[in-house]
């Protein structure tokens, strides 16, 4: 099954975090199934899931009912996704906000690949713009790069003033 991740899940770390949540939920789910089979009265609270994990579980159980096997299968699919997904790294001048992250991830998944993972880093010396690394290829679209590249034209601009 083709897995469609929400834009809030951008990097491999995010996916790994969801896998942990799902495994934790799977353990609780198994425990609850055993309690149901034994007719036990008492139940335990389900573990706190993030909205992203909740949304993912909801979409995963849309077509088939959620079982322990399906949860294990989701974990496996997510691990396979981490291994096989394309990864692009975007470095910004400051830690990115959620909106900025989702905007950039949405753009990448729309224009490059729906299965792509985007990891974010920040480096103050960039001043602005971004540096995109994809495999061995680096695209430097930072302000710093532009300023340094345009350093020689500064005297010309100064003369025209």
């Amino acid at each position: 099954m083709k897995l469609q991740l929400p834009n809030s899940v951008s990097s491999a770390q995010d996916v790994a975090s969801i896998i942990l949540e799902i495994k934790s939920y799977g353990r609780w789910f198994s425990h609850q199934a055993i309690l149901q089979r034994t007719g036990a009265k008492h139940t335990t609270e389900s573990p706190q899931l993030s909205p992203t994990a909740t949304e993912l579980l909801r979409s995963w159980s849309a077509k088939q009912p959620l079982t322990q096997t399906r949860l294990d299968e989701l974990s496996t699919v997510l691990q396979q996704f981490i291994k096989s997904a394309q990864v692009v790294t975007i470095t910004l001048a400051a830690p990115p906000t959620g909106d900025v992250k989702q905007t950039l991830v949405a753009w990448c998944r729309t224009n490059i690949s729906p299965q792509i993972l985007v990891s974010f880093q920040f480096n103050q010396t960039l001043l602005g713009g971004m540096v995109v690394r994809y495999g061995s290829r680096i695209f430097d679209w930072s302000f710093r790069r532009q300023i340094l590249a345009a350093r020689d034209t500064f005297p010309e601009v100064l003369r025209r003033v």
Binding site: Q86, L127, V132, G135, I147
Partner: protein
């Protein structure tokens, strides 16, 4: 040179003649003023004996006076000749010396003038050559100086431009480093991605990196 040799020979002959005449004159004068004592005639063994002639004292006196006057006349004549010869020789010598002196002075003056003219020409040629060389050097130095100045000017301009660029870049880097607002850049980031979309997607198509 020929005249000089002839003159020397002539002078030597004159001196020789003058020497002879002087010796004769001195001998006669000595014999006249200090006559040798007359010894009585002695019979010479190898010479035949002549019989002595006894002259009267008046005759002897007259003969002595006549001989004395003759000797005096010869002596005067000789002295006069000698004086005339000396005067002639002296005049000739003076003329010759004057002529030689004039010739030497003229020759030396001409040689001096020639030498001066040659030196002047040499100096003029050397001066002209030096002037031409100096002119060439001046032009060469001026051209080199102009080129050096232009190069130095260009280098300084380049240096100033580089410094200004560095200063401005440093200023911007220092100023903007702490004023990053990514929220305001969100549209710019998306626009940048859109602008380089073609390059980016082409690179993605070439290689497919995956998470480890």
């Amino acid at each position: 040179m020929g005249d000089s040799l002839f003159l020397q020979i002539f002078l030597i002959i004159n001196v020789f003649i003058m020497g002879i005449l002087a010796a004769i004159a001195v001998r006669h004068a000595y014999a006249h003023f200090r006559p040798a004592p007359t010894e009585p005639d002695k019979p010479h063994p190898s010479r035949p004996t002549y019989q002595a002639v006894h002259l009267p004292p008046q005759v002897k006196e007259r003969l002595l006076k006549a001989a004395q006057s003759n000797f005096q006349a010869v002596l005067d004549h000789t002295a006069t000749e000698l004086q005339r010869d000396l005067k002639s020789t002296s005049n000739q010598l003076n003329r010759q010396l004057e002529k030689i002196g004039t010739e030497i002075v003229n020759n030396e003056t001409k040689r001096y003038h020639d030498m001066l003219e040659e030196l002047r020409l040499q100096a003029e040629t050397a001066l002209r050559s030096s002037q031409a060389e100096i002119g060439g050097h001046q032009a060469e130095i001026k051209a080199k100086l102009d080129a050096d100045m232009a190069a130095e000017q260009q280098r300084l301009i380049q240096q100033i431009d580089t410094k200004l660029g560095d200063a401005m870049a440093s200023f911007l880097l220092e100023t903007l480093q702490h004023n990053v607002d990514l929220g305001a850049q969100s549209a710019y980031l998306t626009a940048t991605l859109e602008q380089h979309k073609a390059d980016f997607t082409r690179e993605v198509g070439h290689e497919t990196p995956t998470a480890k």
